[in-house]
């Protein structure tokens, strides 16, 4: 089975995330890493690959030079090959442009299933999987809490379970398809020492927009269909009153709520 996984390099949520002067996410001055939610996609791809002999897992990312870290981490976990689309013109791309470039890059590969995480941990719009499916003309099967492939050859289908607010649903679609997975689906592995060493020899293809036949004016900040008018850092919440429970903590809490007219 040919499996493609989309991954993103994001600023570390534990760090001091901020915006650059042009309203884009500051990616240069902040430590980055493989988006935590993409680890679940890589793990699920590796599990599928291990269950089906002769499978390959290829990870694809779009981002500046540093984004190769996200590819490398995926290879260390066990993916077989990487594709990194890097081009200065991509700076400031919105979800539409990103999905266009991802789709063009995926189209250079063979695939039975494309797997993504449920959202990025920086912008967090959660729409790129749906847009990539749209651009590739694939059935979109998103927010999988479990995933299985049934049958093989032309009749093969993907079956997922997803956990909604009012319902749990079982959803299926014929392959090839795009699946996004949640953080409930598995427990991502840590790269082993052997995996880290092996990753150094795995192939990573670097592509430019020209390689993909995408023109620079279709992507980047100038091509975005929305415009940021301003970014305001919220003042940190003022520290409130903290009391230590001496047998009256519950009563004091309700006194506070009553004072704020919340009960």
């Amino acid at each position: 089975m040919k499996i493609v996984v989309c991954v993103k390099h994001v600023p570390d949520a534990q760090g001091d995330r901020r915006f650059a002067g042009d309203g884009t996410v500051d990616r240069a001055g902040v430590d980055g890493l493989l988006s935590e939610l993409d680890e679940y996609a890589v793990e699920e791809a590796l599990k599928l690959s291990e269950a089906n002999d002769g499978s390959t897992v290829t990870v694809v990312t779009v981002g500046p030079d540093g984004a190769s870290d996200a590819v490398r981490k995926s290879l260390q976990m066990g993916a077989d090959a990487g594709v990194h689309v890097v081009d200065d013109a991509l700076h400031g791309s919105d979800a539409f442009a990103t999905s266009l470039v991802l789709a063009k890059a995926i189209a250079t590969l063979e695939y039975d299933v494309v797997i993504t995480g449920m959202a990025s941990t920086d912008a967090g719009m959660s729409v790129v999987p749906a847009l990539v499916a749209d651009r590739l003309g694939l059935p979109q099967v998103t927010f999988a809490g479990s995933l299985s492939i049934e049958g093989d050859g032309p009749g093969a289908k993907v079956v997922i379970e997803r956990d909604g607010d009012a319902f749990t649903e079982v959803v299926e679609a014929a392959l090839p398809a795009l699946v996004s997975v949640t953080d409930q689906i598995n427990e991502p592995r840590y790269p082993s020492f052997k995996g880290i060493m092996a990753a150094k020899k795995k192939p990573v293809t670097t592509l430019s927009l020209a390689d993909l036949g995408v023109s620079a004016d279709e992507v980047g900040l100038g091509a975005a269909w929305t415009s940021v008018a301003g970014v305001t850092q919220r003042p940190p919440r003022a520290a409130g009153t903290v009391v230590t429970d001496e047998g009256d903590g519950g009563a004091k809490l309700v006194e506070f709520l009553a004072g704020a007219k919340l009960v």
Binding site: A130, L131, V141, T168, V171, V243, T244, A251, L262
Partner: protein, 324 residues
């Protein structure tokens, strides 16, 4: 005035509060027009008129047999029926996981800009639509405008206080026929199991949320009792959900629900960034934690350092007493 399409969020015609919020916001931009997909319009009509819908488009329930793309195609058909993208002012959609995907695919079809997770929507200074979103775990507010096509905006719950409109009359519904593509039908829902209802308010809509974390040690009874005394929804931290103590659909945080209630009570929750991303924009935050160093106290308007199993029962009794 141009129409603003509002996708109605409902279960068999029981309209959720987010819909009245979206209709209220729509009135800032133009004439609110409700898009009702599914069965039960007769039950919804009154509520839609009460919050200012001046037109209604209905779409057959068969669309709900399929997922995202079918709904995007249905909305695109409604846009056509309403005179095309250039005749409309905006499309507002509830910011659920599916709502965002539907919005994205609709925007792509219409060559139009998309804003997700808006916490405010208003008319732009030079026309068009202006929005505010929260970014980076609520640490930033981002103001943006849509610069291309028909603005498609998904809006988070509690973005505005719903305003009933006096004298609103039930508009006549226009039925819109939708021809679904083969690709839309290629994704099938083969089983749909309704979940047991808790009887508590919906987490994202509730005015008060009481959440439990690792400090509950798996026993949510005191958290639930306090929530019930306040008429609140119950949430859980990722640690509690990952331990199997509470359902994932109740998780508050980056990978769960993002809530912004009037009051958020965090019980036995340390306040990791993952959790803060889901509750930092709450109006008032109260925390109970044994550890005086827990980062949650940096956000709390009021904190109690203590054992939630002692503090919560006392607080529950106190609330019950006051409510008499």
């Amino acid at each position: 005035m141009a129409q603003v399409l509002v996708l109605v969020d409902h279960v068999d015609g029981a309209v959720r509060k987010t819909t009245s919020e979206l209709l209220t916001l729509a009135a800032r931009l133009g004439e609110p027009a409700a898009v009702f997909v599914g069965n039960g319009y007769e039950n919804a009509a009154g509520a839609l008129a009460e919050f200012g819908a001046t037109a209604v488009y209905t779409v057959d329930a068969s669309v709900n047999d399929y997922l995202v793309l079918a709904k995007a195609e249905a909305l695109a058909a409604v846009v056509e029926a309403a005179g095309g993208a250039s005749a409309l002012a905006a499309v507002l959609i509830p910011s659920s996981a599916e709502g965002k995907e539907v919005a994205a695919r609709l925007a792509l079809k219409l060559d139009s800009g998309l804003i997700t997770d808006a916490i405010d929507v208003r008319a732009g200074e030079g026309g068009g639509v202006a929005t505010t979103q929260a970014a980076f775990a609520g640490g930033f507010a981002v103001d943006a405008t849509v610069t291309k096509g028909l603005p498609v905006v998904t809006v988070k719950p509690n973005a505005v206080e719903p305003q009933p409109v006096a004298g609103g009359s039930v508009p006549e519904a226009t039925a819109v026929a939708v021809e679904l593509s083969d690709l839309a039908k290629a994704v099938r829902v083969v089983e749909r199991k309704a979940k047991a209802k808790s009887g508590r308010p919906d987490l994202t809509e509730a005015a008060i949320v009481v959440s439990g974390g690792r400090g509950t040690n798996g026993d949510f009874s005191k958290v639930e009792a306090f929530a019930d005394s306040l008429g609140a929804a119950v949430g859980a931290s990722r640690a509690a959900v990952d331990s199997g103590w509470y359902p994932h659909s109740n998780q508050v945080g980056q990978t769960g629900k993002q809530v912004s209630p009037q009051l958020y009570v965090a019980c036995g929750i340390s306040g990791a960034i993952q959790h803060r991303a889901g509750m930092q924009t709450s109006k008032t935050i109260v925390a109970i934690n044994k550890d005086p160093e827990a980062p949650i106290f940096e956000l709390a308007d009021f904190g109690v350092v203590g054992d939630l199993f002692a503090v919560l029962p006392q607080a529950t009794d106190e609330v019950t007493k006051r409510k008499g």
